[in-house]
């Protein structure tokens, strides 16, 4: 079976076979990605690699010995050499530590995005290049296409329910030129059907959930409580400034959160509008106070450079503020040290540390870039 859009050689005139390193998490998507890469490039030129990212306890994701076993056995079945790369120290430094520090300072970082930014599309790409590979393939549901002028574009995956372009929106030309998404043209049911057809042991494996380095029985609160002091805080009314009560740990509260915030005197639900760790204050307000018309971003990344107008009057775009959020119209303007995104209609507040992914106005499935909320 050959899926459209999957390249079979690096360039048309290059006769040397393309060597591909497939990042295999032990899940079904990367298993099928490996199978498709092997089919396209041959088993001699495709190698599987599983990243050992987390030395502590975990029950899901990319880190456990059971997942490494699954990845290795799938590679064996496909006739691929398989290696394990120990990137645990980098993962701790670039993903876990900033996650913990972020919460301690009242931000809500997205560890999957930081892992993609620093591990899969930096450390792993470097390692692949060092070992003589032309590209890294992953099991992400996203597509890489090339415009007529040669520019690489990052496009939403074919399965809208599984599209992962949001967590890849930090990729630039340098990374995209060396990246393949073999399952990006497929729907999840097609991926599972292909895995079943090939008899891969991961065909029915459940999708990974939540943060891969946090065990479900410990949870985010337990994980953070082991690493940073958590402080009780005061709940303060957004309009009146009145003291509304106490929260157990101000570090565990996220802007936009509704759970545990109760109802106002008007009987309507309360939302978190601000978290201030130093003063231990959580501000809550009615639904209308939980909306904002603009958001400021730092750590801005562009797929193919800043869009026209962003430095001057502003550029039209669509903004997606969470992994499964709906993209909304906005205008994007460069600011000192970052970007301001002005929404066409006010949006639910996005917590500091979260990522906003931007899409083209004329081709709304094409990623423009991303930034992290201040």
């Amino acid at each position: 079976m050959h899926w459209p859009g999957f390249p079979t050689s690096s360039t048309a005139c290059d006769t040397r076979p393309m060597r591909v390193l497939v990042a295999m998490s032990g899940g079904v998507d990367s298993s099928v990605a490996a199978a498709l890469a092997a089919e396209a490039h041959g088993t001699d030129d495709v190698v599987g690699a599983t990243l050992k990212l987390w030395g502590g306890d975990s029950d899901s994701g990319c880190c456990s010995v059971a997942d490494v076993d699954d990845a290795r056995r799938v590679a064996d079945q496909l006739g691929l050499v398989h290696h394990v790369f120990n990137f645990a120290a980098d993962f701790e430094a670039h993903v876990v530590d900033p996650y913990v520090t972020g919460h301690a300072e009242g931000r809500t970082p997205n560890p999957c995005i930081e892992c993609n930014r620093h591990l899969k599309f930096d450390r792993l790409l470097d390692r692949a290049e060092q070992l003589g590979f032309d590209a890294v393939a992953t099991g992400h549901h996203a597509r890489r296409v090339r415009d007529a002028d040669g520019t690489w574009r990052l496009v939403r995956g074919a399965d809208p329910a599984k599209d992962q372009s949001y967590v890849l929106a930090m990729l630039g030309q340098d990374q995209l030129a060396r990246t393949l998404f073999p399952v990006g043209e497929m729907t999840k049911p097609q991926v599972r059907a292909e895995a079943t057809r090939l008899g891969l042991r991961t065909a029915d494996k459940p999708d990974s959930q939540d943060v891969c380095f946090i065990r479900s029985d410990v949870g985010r609160a337990g994980f953070l409580a082991d690493r940073v002091p958590l402080h009780p805080g005061r709940l303060v009314d957004h309009d009146s400034g009145a003291d509304l009560g106490e929260v157990d740990a101000v570090e565990l509260v996220t802007v936009g959160q509704r759970r545990g915030m109760g109802h106002g005197s008007d009987g309507r639900r309360r939302f978190v509008t601000a978290v201030d760790v130093p003063t231990r204050r959580v501000t809550v307000g009615p639904p209308e106070a939980s909306y904002s018309s603009a958001v400021a971003l730092h750590t801005v990344a562009w797929v193919a450079g800043p869009p026209p107008g962003v430095e001057a009057g502003g550029a039209d775009a669509y903004a997606q503020c969470s992994a499964h959020g709906v993209a909304v119209r906005c205008t994007v303007r460069a600011e000192a040290g970052g970007l301001t995104v002005v929404f066409a209609a006010p949006q639910r507040r996005v917590a500091p540390g979260q990522t906003v992914a931007l899409f083209e106005p004329a081709r709304p499935d094409h990623v423009v870039g991303s930034g992290v909320v201040r």
Binding site: V65, R72, V84, N86, R127, Q130, G132
Partner: protein, 394 residues
């Protein structure tokens, strides 16, 4: 000579494991086929198996310089280490009168994980004080630090005879003197797993009451090893059951394993002087050739302090994990120190014990040679390794 397109593999990971010696295979085959019986039975079939087991034990004991009653056959080096640390310590603790606290434990920080984690498990589960003694930058135990750790409250000391990553020989005689002087109530264990292929084990382990060996490091089968328990040394069993091995290690004896171990040990000892000279020469040629061809490469430890088969290098700017994979692709099987259960390479605790930082401890490469290593292997290695390391340098 090597030729372009030469795809012959070069196996330089003998410290991880060795191929089975033909003598061992030949000796084992009858025990895996016709002579299959359980040696504990009361019939003719059992008696034949019993004789094979007893002969094997006699041979192993003789070559280790002890009596047959002093050899406890185990499933390998790790079980021997675990039995020595837990079983040896427990026996000491039962008669402990020095203090109300349980006897303390001393080991080197560069021990194999089989010893290190057994000691840490004692510390965790029994509240035992564990003193891990650092090494010098030369890869040998710091004897002053050992003397400081060996106080009268110590019940068990474990110091390996030869380090498995860098191959440095540890001064067990001097260690024994320090232990006897400072910790008269302590039993001394030595992990001699990497010593047997290269040194006269009977002599170099003589001062230790407990000695671990593993067959597959010297051409014997995997899953077979022994703990020497010198007469007068107490030992609590870890595995109870049928009372085999004089009640010190229950379980139906691995007769073929014992027979293969004995045959491999006989062959190893008979050929040892010649092997050490031959392999040592190849190791030196490989080390000298790589030193000349790879700028900045550092050989760990003095050759005079190391067993003949191990060449340990640090290559600044090269991650060992990437190097091992690139070398594999180039047809050379080497190792980067300890591998965890998932197969990932961990920074070497041995290099950390010698004072290296985590980056330095992740740059160690071990090439280990053995009886089957040839001139051509070294030629091929020298033709391939420098290019690979050069390409990996940032």
């Amino acid at each position: 000579m090597t030729t372009p397109g030469d795809t012959a593999r070069v196996y330089l990971d003998h410290a991880a494991t060795t191929p089975l010696r033909p003598e061992a295979l030949e000796a084992m085959l009858p025990l895996l086929t016709s002579e299959f019986a359980n040696p504990s039975g009361a019939h003719a079939e059992s008696r034949r198996a019993r004789i094979a087991l007893d002969d094997a034990r006699d041979a192993i004991a003789g070559l280790l310089g002890v009596g047959p009653g002093e050899v406890v056959l185990t499933s390998g080096g790790t079980e021997a280490d675990d039995l020595a640390v837990h079983g040896g310590w427990e026996a000491v603790a039962e008669g402990w009168s020095h203090s109300a606290r349980p006897p303390a434990v001393v080991c080197t920080a560069m021990e194999h994980h089989a010893v290190l984690l057994a000691c840490r498990s004692l510390a965790r589960r029994h509240g035992v004080e564990l003193r891990e003694v650092r090494s010098g930058a030369d890869g040998r135990i710091d004897l002053d630090a050992l003397a400081e750790a060996c106080r009268p409250d110590v019940g068990l000391v474990s110091v390996m005879a030869v380090n498995n990553e860098i191959g440095t020989v540890q001064p067990i005689d001097e260690v024994a003197g320090i232990v006897a002087a400072g910790s008269p109530g302590a039993v001394l264990h030595t992990d001699a797993v990497q010593a047997v292929p290269w040194l006269d084990a009977a002599t170099c382990t003589a001062p230790a009451a407990l000695v671990s060996v593993s067959a597959h490091k010297f051409g014997g089968p995997k899953g077979s090893g022994a703990l020497v328990v010198r007469s007068g040394t107490g030992l609590s069993a870890r595995i109870g059951g049928g009372g085999q091995e004089r009640g010190r290690r229950s379980g139906t004896p691995n007769v073929s394993g014992a027979v293969g171990t004995a045959a491999a040990l006989v062959a190893t000892v008979a050929g040892r002087d010649a092997t050490v000279a031959w392999v040592g020469g190849l190791r030196d040629r490989l080390g000298d050739g790589l030193a000349a061809a790879v700028p900045g490469v550092v050989e760990t430890g003095d050759r005079a302090d190391r067993v003949a088969g191990i060449l340990h290098l640090r290559v600044p700017g090269v991650e060992a994990e990437a190097a091992v994979i690139a070398l594999d692709r180039a047809g050379v099987a080497a190792s980067a120190g300890a591998a965890c259960s998932s197969g990932a390479v961990e920074p070497s605790h041995v290099l950390v014990a010698m004072g290296l930082d985590p980056v330095g401890a992740s740059s160690g490469l071990r090439f280990s040679l053995g009886v089957t290593t040839t001139d051509e292997d070294v030629e091929r290695a020298l033709a391939r390794i420098p290019d690979v390391l050069d390409r990996l340098r940032h």
